[in-house]
């Protein structure tokens, strides 16, 4: 009896526990439906909060350690760098450093630190903080984790006085006016025993906002820095709310749980059209997407590495592959039109350097022509329709893609489909980002989907394709792109570096792009736009970079967040004197299209109900027998 009772008791406790759990759920479900939340948020007790839905994760908020886009983006608002990129032209402009100069041998750089900058705890920011930060990086390997690449060629760092910082380098370094290194307060960080440890919050900073709370995989909270030297931001807090699934972020935007989201997929972007309170931003991007074709990977001393299919060394084959890729279809189908059709290596956003093939050089998408070219080049078709390489082996190529990246997931089936038409079998191999990086660096691929973000100055992306940029002997080192090594290209590259006449330099850069186009070690297949959305019932807008047509989130600076303007608080500021104040033309007002969501809900609910019922009835009918009447 005792046993029975105690067991019943256990069952009772279980039920009680579940009731306890469900009760508040039910209460809260009825107490705070989503619309109420939206209202509550605007009149939140802590003042104006900008909640940003992001689907990229923060690795760590330690400025020495953070390397992910999300982490570094947040830290950009936390710490003022020496320089930043202007809102309008994205060229380096002074930030913590008011101005800077370099010696004639380009080896000594002197930065003049602003005198009116204070840390969020009120202490002044001096050159000593910068010196301490850089010196720490020079001394401590761990501190070099995130931004070590900038200082590998440095010789010394000194703060000659509180407002002057001198850096000596071993060789001339082009990135000295764009050092993306967070400068930390010495009085806080010098006390930390482990430089790689998670920082304490609130985190002392000197940017427009400072971090007050970080919940791993949930959110990061920032408060406005009232002492900010450019003037305090208009919002009081920013919450970066993490959604591992971007659809959830979109739902959250729809229900008013967040105010701004980036990035959106074209599907999500289209789905948001017609929402009356949502402003969409279709921003031109500085990114190009490419298909790498391994031309025979080698190290920078010419030793072959990797396991690329040797047949791809044949430029004719690469060109045929390039010709079999239909950028128009990709723009239409993969990006739903929110992209620009492929042309040259430099994205069309940078109008000066952008190039487009003309005349004979144009390789229009043409499967027949590609087939013909391959026939002529001697790639015969085998019995199953797959072409054979010169050794008589069927052409089976691996296509390395980033798993779960929208572009890769959607573009790769097309590439596979077209290449099959020209007799090349493709196996899609989605891998984690790390693995893709690794395997492309080591040349362990045949085809791979990749892409870069170009800068206003094309130097960096152009350098990617030089012989010198190939990796070290052990397969690591530089970040190679297509493993191109072309003497002519390298000569042109050197020439454009020393060319000070901009129009002449543009000509050289275009020649280089034409050369890349012919070599076909990479096929540009489109420049996708950055798609964003925000609640216009709560925010007037945000400064874009470049002004008017660019992105809000993930800028090369903090303009978008700094200038976030809540509803009714005047025009969106512009941090670039040359431009107007209104939002760019690409920002489309959401049309008053009829929302199909209600229909969807009804459809799904109905469908599920029907399925459950039908199935339930089927099973139930099968087991129907006379019910026993046992007592």
């Amino acid at each position: 009896m005792i046993i029975v009772r105690s067991r019943l008791l256990a069952l009772g406790v279980t039920l009680m526990a579940s009731a306890l759990v469900t009760a508040p759920v039910a209460v809260s479900a009825s107490a705070s439906p989503a619309p109420a939340r939206a209202a509550e948020a605007t009149s939140g007790q802590d003042g104006k909060v900008l909640r940003i839905g992001v689907s990229r994760e923060v690795d760590t908020l330690n400025p020495f350690m953070s390397i992910t886009l999300m982490g570094t983006s947040i830290l950009r608002s936390q710490f003022e760098f020496l320089t930043t990129y202007s809102q309008g032209s994205m060229t380096p402009e002074g930030a913590l450093a008011e101005k800077w100069e370099t010696s004639e041998d380009k080896l000594t750089w002197t930065y003049h630190i602003r005198k009116d900058v204070k840390w969020s705890d009120g202490k002044p920011v001096t050159a000593k903080d910068a010196a301490w930060t850089f010196q720490k990086m020079l001394d401590d390997e761990t501190a070099r984790t995130a931004n070590g690449s900038y200082i590998t060629q440095w010789e010394s760092v000194t703060a000659t006085d509180d407002w002057t910082l001198k850096i000596k380098t071993k060789v001339p370094q082009a990135t000295m006016d764009a050092l993306d290194i967070p400068i930390v307060p010495e009085h806080v960080w010098s006390k930390m025993s482990d430089i790689s440890a998670a920082p304490e919050f609130p985190m002392v900073g000197n940017g427009p906002y400072y971090i007050t709370e970080f919940k791993e995989a949930q959110f990061t909270k920032m408060k406005a820095n009232k002492n900010y030297w450019r003037g305090a931001p208009k919002v009081d807090e920013i919450h970066f709310v993490y959604y591992s699934n971007s659809d959830a972020a979109v739902s959250a935007l729809q229900s008013g749980e967040v105010d701004l989201i980036n990035p959106l997929t074209p599907t999500q972007y289209d789905a948001l059209q017609g929402e009356p309170d949502i402003q969409l931003n279709n921003a031109q991007n500085r990114r190009f997407n490419e298909l790498l074709i391994n031309p025979g990977a080698a190290t920078n001393d010419g030793t072959p590495i990797g396991n690329g299919n040797p047949a791809l060394k044949d430029v004719k084959l690469r060109q045929a592959i390039a010709q079999a890729i239909d950028t128009k279809t990709l723009v239409d189908k993969v990006w739903s039109g929110y992209a620009t059709e492929a042309a040259g290596y430099i994205p069309p956003m940078f109008k000066d350097f952008a190039w487009e093939p003309t005349g004979d050089q144009v390789r229009k998408f043409d499967l027949d022509a590609a087939n013909k070219a391959l026939d002529e080049a001697g790639y015969k078709k085998g019995q199953d329709g797959v072409r054979l390489d010169k050794q008589g082996k069927p052409l089976n190529l691996r296509l390395l893609t980033h798993a779960e990246r929208d572009i890769d997931e959607n573009a790769s089936p097309f590439i596979k489909g077209w290449l099959k038409e020209i007799g090349i079998e493709v196996t899609i191999e989605p891998k984690s980002d790390n693995q893709v990086n690794e395997e492309t660096t080591r040349g362990e691929y045949d085809l791979a989907i990749s892409g870069w973000s170009a800068n206003p100055d094309p130097d960096y992306v152009l350098s990617l394709q030089t012989c010198a940029n190939r990796p070290n002997a052990d397969g690591t080192g530089a970040t190679p792109d297509s493993f191109l090594c072309n003497e002519e290209y390298d000569e042109l590259y050197a020439k454009q570096l020393s060319e000070f006449d901009r129009s002449k330099r543009i000509d050289i850069v275009k020649q280089m792009q034409a050369l890349l186009y012919d070599e076909a070690t990479l096929v540009i297949f489109g420049y996708d736009n950055a798609l964003e959305a925000f609640r216009k019932d709560k925010f007037e807008g945000f400064p874009q970079q470049p002004t008017g047509s660019g992105v809000i989130m993930f800028q090369q600076s903090y303009w978008g967040l700094l200038g976030a303007t809540p509803k009714g608080e005047g025009p969106v500021p512009v941090y670039d004197g040359s431009q107007g104040t209104e939002s760019g033309e690409d920002t489309t007002d959401a049309a008053a299209e009829e929302s199909s969501n209600t229909g969807l809900i009804l459809g799904i609910v109905g469908g599920v109900l029907v399925v459950v019922l039908v199935v339930g009835l089927l099973v139930a009918r099968g087991r129907r027998k006379t019910a026993d009447d046992r007592e």
């Binding site: 390997e141 984690s432 199935v615």
Partner: protein, 341 residues
């Protein structure tokens, strides 16, 4: 299978019944020992699986950024990756015993810290949904098994089977689509919820609704079906006739005699099924962005973070093993027959 006697045991079954109480310590030690052996196997498996993964872990750590051979060698040395495999294994086991699961390559923090952060949300989700689904499953199973063939039995068994046949993540997706705007779609708590306990608890409960419903929907069916069939198995038992002959009411017969006996196989199943529930948690946490171990596993898988994967593997498997040892001990309390064995 306690009711099956092998021929040699049969000869012994006639021996005088053993005295009670003896061997309790032995039983506990045996079960804990068994758990430890299992855990040792998990550790070995964890090592073998994740060291066998393709890819140069050190290169992963640089994420494709430039690194000199010295830096690489340093890092390899730092992580002990330049040692022979057996030495690595010894170090790995040694570290593990000290509670050190290594550092996450991607997050650059100790794996243990990462797992600790994610442990409780999963315990909360899995715990609450297991409680609800066990209670629901047992109740429904008892009702439907006792009145086999009744309308309730037919419908509830049909629904349970239908829900059991659905992939967890799909059900979650449907719930997401069907309840747009009613419940939070992701996370565990809003960023702007006041920090006091009550508001936080309420908000967490609000966030838990959809994931919990999903988990319960796919797991309760198992318990219902097992409870049902185990009750049906017991239905023919003679002691129930005894109970009826004593003049007990039908529900008393069920409550006092049938259910306590039918509960026993179900208890084992509840714990054996924790592995299955964990699988559900991976899907559910992925769909609902629940910051738990399941999603950590998924994220680690996505970014190829080997130490983290290894850590979640060891911890998840270890947790299930611990729970099963616990189940064995609990079973001994519940079933007097096991005490004698």
């Amino acid at each position: 299978m306690s009711d099956i006697l092998t021929p040699t045991e049969e000869a012994l079954a006639e021996a005088p019944p053993p005295t009670r109480g003896g061997g309790a310590l032995r039983y506990v030690l045996t079960k804990i020992g068994g758990g430890l052996v299992s855990f040792a196997l998990v550790i070995v498996l964890g090592f073998l699986l994740f060291r066998a993964l393709p890819g140069d872990v050190v290169a992963t750590m640089f994420r494709g950024r430039p690194a000199t051979p010295e830096m690489i060698a340093n890092l390899k040395h730092q992580y002990g990756l330049d040692l022979p495999l057996w030495q690595q294994f010894v170090n790995y086991v040694g570290d593990l015993l000290r509670g050190d699961l290594g550092d996450s390559y991607v997050y650059r923090v100790p794996v243990w810290q990462k797992i600790e952060e994610r442990f409780w949300p999963t315990v909360l989700l899995v715990g609450v949904s297991t409680l609800i689904s066990v209670a629901l499953g047992l109740w429904m199973g008892t009702r439907s098994g006792w009145r086999r063939g009744s309308r309730f039995d037919r419908i509830s068994t049909g629904v349970a089977l239908a829900l059991w046949s659905t992939p967890t993540f799909w059900l979650g997706m449907l719930l997401l689509a069907a309840t747009t705007g009613l419940f939070p779609t992701a996370g565990i708590v809003y960023s702007d919820t006041p920090p006091d306990f009550f508001s936080q608890a309420l908000d967490i409960a609000h966030h838990m609704v959809l994931p919990t419903i999903t988990m319960v929907a796919v797991t309760y069916a198992q318990y219902q079906l097992v409870m049902r069939s185990s009750l049906i198995e017991e239905m023919g038992a003679d002691y129930l006739t005894t109970a009826r002959a004593k003049g007990l009411r039908d529900d008393e017969v069920r409550r006092k005699h049938a259910v306590p006996n039918a509960l026993l196989p179900t208890v084992t199943l509840v714990f054996l099924h924790l592995g299955f529930v964990i699988a559900g948690a991976i899907s559910v946490e992925t769909v609902f962005s629940w910051p738990g171990l399941g999603r950590l596993t998924y994220d680690a898988l996505r970014v190829g973070d080997l130490p983290l994967l290894q850590g979640t593997f060891v911890v998840l498997a270890g947790a299930v093993i611990v729970m099963n040892v616990f189940a064995d001990l609990l079973y001994r309390v519940l079933d007097p027959r096991v005490r004698a064995a």
